[in-house]
Symmetry: C2
Subunit: 545 residues, 2 copies
């Protein structure tokens, strides 16, 4: 028996393009004499469809699309994912389902049992959990279909009281297929392998795991579809961030039980590739082409600019250099050097005229008041006005260049440098931005050295440095990581050896900046805990603040 895993990039709610991808893969898989072709979770509509699921019309379109797929299942069996109705009058109205289709007919529908409802996941919001367990019988083989999380109730933190495998293994499947939409973070690929190895260990049969790729606004799916042998070896790991179809025969698995084939997993490479896919898909799926961004001469905008060039092509990236009287002499020259290295179009527009005009307009009210944060923010907002005006006039999308350290502690201006359609680095700490810059320069200098070596500064007042207002990034980022990703509280942080005053100050900065983060652009998620849908905190709260 030959099984094809189709690792594809769907677009939420774009039934036509999703169907077309599925159709093409079925044709190819037939041509390659596959017996079964497997698509990822909710492949029919794209994952996560969120509240689109609350519209009857959306579910009807899913049903229609499944019918069109069924018509193609001739001489091949197809497994696709789509929502289905729960016909029990009690409980959530839908299931998250997998369709087993053969002989042009839906033969069996399998529902998801474990419904992730944490971090970015909201599945209990929509779906009822499955409670019935059956195998699929096809061409003399018996196997189980499971959906993503169904295999994840393992390890030391089991979020569910029981696991589908407890019910499926006694039925003696010969192999297990898992259709997934399991999002990327820099540690996810390794975790995924462990989890599936656990499943192979428990079940003693091979696991065929088909994941999606592609970015859905902020959430990036990395693919890395897997075949795990019954002895828990990684028989084959498919590419990251790329569409592909691969074919596996059950006989080959048995014959080559010692084969181990894995993708390289360098953390910064993964983050780099994920961000590029994130930008590319945001534009492509929104039917947009060109971006604009401000180049400050600092490292964040330099890295975003290079990633944007990779994603969109240098002809589609336009930079504005917007100096003020507080800009250092090198800020423009460094940015120009970068723009030239990247062969992108750039313009230099001083914000002095606008800044003066705002100050003049406000002078009757501000007379006698000292220069403070207000004037710093006016500069940042003047830049945003220019960037947005260019974006509006020429149909660019503004890329936001703030990093996670800044968003964490609120070191950024609402409606100023926090503006943009998409935040590229909002889940990347400043210290990781440096790693990305060095990675980008690994073969030749693309980002000018001075951009990497100079001390970070917002350049909004004379001789300003980030370190005037913030702890040094190497310490700050460690505290932020423990607090945000690891959910460690003040006591745990002090026990780890961080200075209590610094911990209290940092946590207070984070918690009192929630109101700002509430208005950020969507942030490409590359860590297990990104700002956005995956981290939900009260804005008006009083805790560590």
């Amino acid at each position: 028996m030959k099984i094809a895993l189709a690792q594809q990039n769907y677009h939420i709610g774009n039934f036509e393009s999703n169907f077309e991808k599925i159709r093409t893969a079925i044709v190819e898989a037939k041509h390659n004499h596959a017996d079964i072709v497997v698509f990822s979770e909710l492949s029919i509509c794209g994952y996560p469809p969120r509240d689109f699921l609350e519209f009857t019309d959306f579910i009807t379109r899913c049903e229609e699309s499944v019918k069109k797929v069924a018509a193609l299942a001739d001489g091949i069996a197809v497994i696709v994912g789509a929502p289905t109705y729960n016909h029990n009058p009690k409980g959530k109205p839908l299931y998250n389902s997998a369709f087993f289709i053969a002989d042009k007919k839906v033969q069996q529908v399998v529902h998801k049992t474990l419904l992730p409802t944490y971090d970015i996941f909201d599945e209990v919001r929509y779906f009822e959990a499955n409670t019935e367990f059956n195998l699929i019988a096809y061409q003399g083989k018996k196997f189980a279909i499971t959906i993503c999380e169904d295999l994840w109730n393992t390890g030391y933190e089991q979020l569910y009281v029981s696991s589908p495998l407890d019910n499926l293994i006694p039925l003696k499947p010969e192999f297990i297929i898992n259709i997934s939409a399991s999002p990327f973070d820099y540690g996810h690929a390794q975790e995924r392998i462990s989890v599936l190895q656990d499943a192979a260990k428990t079940s003693r049969v091979p696991i065929f795991y088909c994941n999606a790729i592609g970015s859905q606004t902020d959430i990036i799916f990395d693919g890395g579809s897997l075949v795990i042998n019954s002895n828990t070896n990684v028989f084959y790991e498919m590419s990251y961030f790329k569409e592909e179809i691969n074919y596996f025969s059950l006989d080959d698995l048995k014959k080559n039980s010692t084969q181990v084939s894995e993708q390289p997993k360098d953390k910064i490479t993964l983050i780099h590739d994920a961000l590029i896919l994130g930008i590319k898909d945001y534009f492509q799926k929104s039917n947009l082409k060109k971006c604009i961004l401000g180049l400050s001469g600092g490292i964040d905008s330099a890295v975003v600019c290079k990633l944007a060039v990779e994603a969109l092509g240098s002809e589609n990236v336009h930079a504005l250099l917007m100096p003020s009287k507080f800009s250092s002499s090198h800020s423009v020259s460094d940015a120009e050097e970068l723009a030239k290295n990247l062969r992108i179009k750039y313009d230099i527009i001083s914000i002095e005229g606008i800044f003066d005009s705002v100050n003049k307009t406000l002078s009757p009210f501000f007379a006698g008041k000292p220069f403070d944060l207000t004037e710093e923010n006016i500069q940042a907002r003047s830049r945003a006005i220019l960037l947005m005006a260019m974006a509006n006039k020429f149909n660019y999308v503004l890329l936001n260049t703030s990093n996670k350290s800044e968003f964490s502690v609120g070191y950024s201006t609402l409606y100023g440098d926090m503006s943009g359609g998409l935040s590229v680095l909002g889940d990347v700490y400043k210290t990781q931005v440096y790693e990305l810059a060095n990675f980008i320069n690994r073969e030749k200098t693309i980002i000018p050295k001075n951009i990497i070596t100079k001390a970070p500064s917002a350049e909004l007042r004379p001789d300003q440095k980030d370190s005037d207002s913030l702890p040094e990034y190497d310490v700050l980022d460690k505290i932020l990581f423990q607090y945000i990703e690891k959910r460690q509280g003040p006591n745990e942080l002090v026990q780890m050896g961080f200075d209590k005053t610094l911990v209290d100050r940092t946590l207070k900065l984070v918690n009192t900046s929630e109101y700002k983060r509430n208005q950020t652009p969507p942030i490409l998620r590359i860590s297990p805990k990104a700002f956005g849908m995956g981290r939900r905190l009260p804005i008006v709260g009083k805790y560590l603040s």
Copy 2:
């Protein structure tokens, strides 16, 4: 037996102030010889605590606070709500619990069974569902404690497969206590009464229902705590939007089985009062005092201004009138008249200087291009720069004045009129804003008549009217209501009699504006489906768009 219901306004994570409120009520209830004093759901930490629940330190503080409450339970029993650990190693780590405390000791802990996970609710994200059912025995009485949603699995749309009452009624409770944090919308009070009447009908015993009041950023709790008699009569309904403690004796309920005492439920009055509480609590709980807003001479900012005066006092409301060359002559005079009626401070600042300066700065790039949306947005953003500068310099918070119709169809400028710390009318359709204005003027003219009667206009180009770009609001709002609140799709809308072209155009406007709504301020929720946490849609999707 005398039962006190303490309807209070908690602050999420503010353990000190929450404890102090609970302490004060216990003292008062003792003084009034109550046998049991009941507080609302998660009263110890405030509801909804969201991801604060993921911090061990937060749970520890809850535990400490419960201990402090227990020390006061002397001569009176206390029921409070707080999260507790699930000691089973499998399943979600916490329960949403009620503590029954007497004789200075926690006598029993009851966990919530039905965990709402829809709209603004995310309880499965944190909590494991209860599966054990027991009554409380106290002073010779046996009764059941339930938590909010536990009584709501009723009517035609039952989201849960089983109900706690199925397990509790066979144990023969003499009455049922329900501790809640059930948020307001304009139809909620009536629905709540029906649901509790259903519970009384099923159980044939009285229901004591204690709700919270107060606004938690965007979510407003209205109180309206209830005693329902065993014959389903509303024995007593407590005030909306006000803290109070009321006392009820079981004997009185039996004696006065025909008593029916309800609060008035006029929809616009409720919305009006809810918004005022929403503003007041946002400021008070954030330790802020003063707001600023732009007065355009239009109806939205006029209504927000009056609500802000009610919430914060006229001395804490500062208006900016920011005319441009496109402003009509009456826009300033109408706004001035309003400001005078409300006795608030206002300043007139023309945006012409800033607008000219931005245009001049951009003229090398825009040469030969016609005036378009770009220049309209520059005006809106120039106003935002001024408002935010004043807010920064003088420690105001900017109130956003956009309405739900505008947010729905994206008729608003990001980083311009979409700015602000809090959106007051973002869940109020334009036609409802008119109703609010008329309600405000019910006794005397506060909002000048001309503001109410003139055709809505953004005044961003010569002789502009909203109706140039949008359908008339009375039709638009009806379509929006059906699509947003009622989740009716394109086919259902056409079947209702709406024009197909208009429906398609409107739905497309709504769906393609998701990226803007993703960056709005928090919006005070007054409807069953508000933009924000309760409505989660893909930004990059392709559906009805």
